[in-house]
């Protein structure tokens, strides 16, 4: 694992543009352009809101909304609103307008359904897609919702269980589609999240027609104990292009040693799904993923750092950050959030000294995302 100090020296060796100096010296006022939509446990309870650079460089809660249970996925929507999804098995969606002017909007899961923690907006902004579970059968589905009212229009099966993150793919064959990660881990809602019968795990990646929900393809790894959960495109998928999809993994092996050494990254090129192993132990858990220039960043909280890979899955290094999980793409790299501290990662290495987070004791959830207006990748 690379320490922050040592990582600074790697920049020159990698021959990449060192932008960290400017960022590090940036006064808080200038840095305030960067705002992160995040979910956290602030000690008094669960909140969602905006973290922004403050005087002295710390990231502080510029705005927050209390939520009743832990939040997970977050979306910045085109109309300026923000959406938070309850962690699985969840029963609420919250949409609010950080700029104010409109009351927050709550949507409750329909009876017999639970939210699985992630949502996606269609490019035209009219439709929201949510991953959900049928509590009777355990089957996963995509809830197709009106983006204005959040009411459900349709349900599409995901041909698996434990569906988690989903992304839009404009580039796939046959027109726009949804790519959905079926985590494949059996659970019982009565126990909240307790896993059962791991021998029956069946994780898969599916492509669903964006208009009809029809299944266009399904892919599986050979190792069924690797749950496919979080997704990121390497560049924006556009018609005629086939960008790579990065998938963060959660290992569920019975053998602790096998679990510790399990890979945390898989890649998908539209036809093949393969593993990107690392030469170090990442404790078998990638909690979030984003694309960075020339590669991938995977938050590995159990390994205490952010794992960096090349675009083709080749190993770069691990950057130390206690409880690192949330990663948010920017133009030059990404923001990584850990326990009480955050880092800006540049082209393959740490760019700045860690930023503390306020209030002290804040515990970020798995994800955060840069708000529009700040430099970011597509």
């Amino acid at each position: 694992m690379t320490s922050r100090r040592a990582a600074l020296g790697l920049l020159g060796g990698l021959g990449l543009a060192p932008w960290m100096g400017a960022a590090d010296a940036r006064p808080a006022g200038a840095a305030s352009a960067e705002q992160l939509l995040a979910a956290w446990d602030g000690g008094a309870g669960f909140e969602v809101g905006i973290l922004a650079a403050q005087a002295g460089g710390a990231l502080g809660a510029a705005q927050s909304v209390a939520v009743p249970t832990r939040a997970h996925g977050l979306l910045a929507l085109a109309d300026g609103s923000a959406l938070a999804v309850a962690r699985r098995p969840g029963d609420w969606l919250l949409r609010w307008w950080p700029q104010g002017g409109r009351p927050a909007q709550w949507q409750w899961a329909e009876p017999g359904r639970a939210f699985n923690g992630h949502a996606l907006a269609s490019p035209d902004g009219r439709t929201l897609y949510t991953t959900e579970t049928d509590l009777d059968s355990g089957a996963s589905l995509v809830g197709v919702r009106d983006a204005g009212s959040l009411a459900k229009r349709h349900e599409w099966p995901t041909f698996g269980i434990d569906a988690h993150e989903l992304l839009w793919d404009a580039a796939g064959p046959g027109g726009p589609s949804l790519v959905v990660a079926n985590g494949g881990v059996p659970t019982r809602p009565e126990t909240g999240r307790a896993k059962i019968d791991l021998d029956t795990m069946d994780p898969s990646l599916v492509r669903l027609d964006a208009d009809s929900g029809a299944l266009r393809g399904q892919w599986r790894l050979a190792d069924r104990r690797l749950s496919l959960r979080h997704l990121a495109w390497q560049g924006a998928p556009a018609a005629g292009q086939t960008p790579l999809l990065g998938i963060a993994l959660q290992a569920e092996h019975d053998d602790p040693a096998q679990k510790r050494q399990a890979p945390v990254l898989a890649l998908f090129d539209g036809a093949r799904l393969w593993l990107a192993p690392a030469p170090v132990s990442l404790a078998g858990y990638g909690g979030a993923i984003c694309a960075v220039p020339g590669g991938w960043a995977v938050g590995c909280p159990r390994a205490g750092g952010v794992a960096l890979f090349n675009v083709d899955g080749g190993w770069r290094e691990q950057v130390a950050l206690a409880h690192a999980c949330a990663v948010a793409a920017m133009d030059e790299g990404c923001w990584a959030g850990g326990e009480n501290e955050a880092l800006r990662l540049g082209h393959g290495a740490v760019a700045t000294r860690p930023r503390s987070m306020r209030p002290a004791g804040i515990r970020l959830d798995n994800h955060w995302t840069l708000l529009p207006g700040a430099p970011r990748r597509a």
């Binding site: 409750w108 509590l135 009777d136 019982r188 909240g192 798995n366």
Partner: protein, 368 residues
């Protein structure tokens, strides 16, 4: 056997604080006077904790639920066969439903073992009930257990029976009343199955169980205790309030039709409190009684975690007693109770579980 004196100073501090609040009347308030430094608490093994749990907690409550559930079809049949007006028979059936529901709530507040494996909560306590599906089921006229298996859970169980006894009282001799009888038999069937399975757990040779089985059992107890807190706080208290606010309607409280909302919360809290907090200085010998989490912690030499649990538990107890004494609790008091339960949950996740070396499935640590 190892005995562990507890942190007397902290216990005395809590005792003084609690007495100042005038909490001495409640059962856990007895614990406030306990000088744990003077009490020898056994270092309970996981086997003795699970043995005590199943012999002295789950089985007696499963027996009680089975007893009440067996009386339920009898009461509903009496209603269906009563001459009009059936006011007395209806009152008797309603009373038996209440007894059965509260026995069920005491058993299921912490859903462990067969309650989870059988998905009993979903089978007989699905909420919200679906009137349209109940009407459809009545029209289909199911007779017998096999026919009832084809009826979806939203149209049967205790909430459906509540609807048939209060919201749309089934008239004697009607198809609705016959369906109510089938629903009552279905509840009885589940209660007897649970009783059998809890009998097996109570009779198990826990000291001979494999270490991983024991660890899993203790882990399930702690996790599901926290799950029970969260279900009471969120699903039953705060969510109805929040949903009502966003919809501009009255809160859709559980057991509202029967007027048993407060009694239901009280039954669940009683179970959670008994499993969590020590009832004063009474300390069971290993395997001879229920070992609450607080007592387990003190025996393991974790007085700080035990004190934190007691402190947060008493706060929750104070607020739950306040709202459960009131048949129509006001929203601020419900939210206050919800906040106290949330604080208790945080203590359980942050201090109790680590002290017992239990991983929390509800916590941050299990990935997503």
């Amino acid at each position: 056997m190892k005995f562990c004196p507890s942190a007397a100073v902290k216990s005395l501090r809590y005792a003084a604080w609690a007495l100042a609040l005038g909490l001495a009347a409640t059962a856990p308030a007895q614990a406030q006077k306990t000088d744990w430094g003077q009490v020898a608490v056994p270092n309970y093994s996981p086997a003795s904790v699970l043995q005590g749990l199943h012999q002295h907690w789950t089985l007696p409550r499963a027996d009680d639920f089975a007893r009440q559930a067996q009386a339920l079809p009898v009461a509903v049949t009496a209603l269906c066969e009563a001459p009009a007006p059936a006011g007395q028979a209806l009152a008797a059936a309603r009373g038996q439903w209440q007894q059965t529901a509260h026995a069920w709530e005491r058993l299921s507040a912490v859903a462990i073992g067969p309650l989870v494996a059988r998905r009993s909560q979903r089978q007989i306590d699905f909420s919200p009930t679906r009137p349209a599906l109940i009407e459809k089921a009545i029209a289909s006229g199911p007779g017998g257990a096999a026919a009832m298996e084809r009826i979806g859970t939203p149209a049967k169980g205790l909430p459906a029976l509540e609807w048939l006894l209060w919201t749309r009282p089934a008239a004697p001799g009607s198809a609705a009343c016959r369906y109510a009888g089938e629903v009552a038999l279905d509840v009885e069937h589940e209660a007897l199955a649970l009783q059998r399975e809890f009998q097996a757990l109570a009779g198990a040779d826990w000291p001979a169980a494999a270490p991983e089985q024991l660890a899993a059992g203790v882990g399930e107890l702690v996790n599901q205790w926290v799950g029970g807190l969260e279900r009471l706080r969120w699903a039953q208290m705060e969510k109805p309030l929040r949903a009502a606010k966003s919809k501009g309607s009255a809160p859709d409280w559980p057991r509202a039709a029967s007027g048993q909302t407060a009694a239901s919360w009280a039954a669940q809290w009683e179970a959670l409190r008994t499993l969590g907090l020590a009832p004063g200085a009474q300390v069971p010998l290993p395997g001879q009684g229920l070992v609450p989490l607080e007592t387990y912690l003190r025996g393991k030499g974790a007085p700080e975690a035990a004190d934190a649990l007691t402190g947060a538990g008493r706060q929750a107890d104070l607020r739950l007693q306040k709202i459960t004494r009131n048949p129509a609790p006001a929203a601020p008091a419900v939210l206050e109770a919800g906040r106290a339960l949330a604080s208790l949950k945080r203590v359980a996740e942050g201090e109790v579980a680590p002290a017992l070396d239990v991983g929390m499935g509800f916590s941050d640590a299990d990935g997503d």
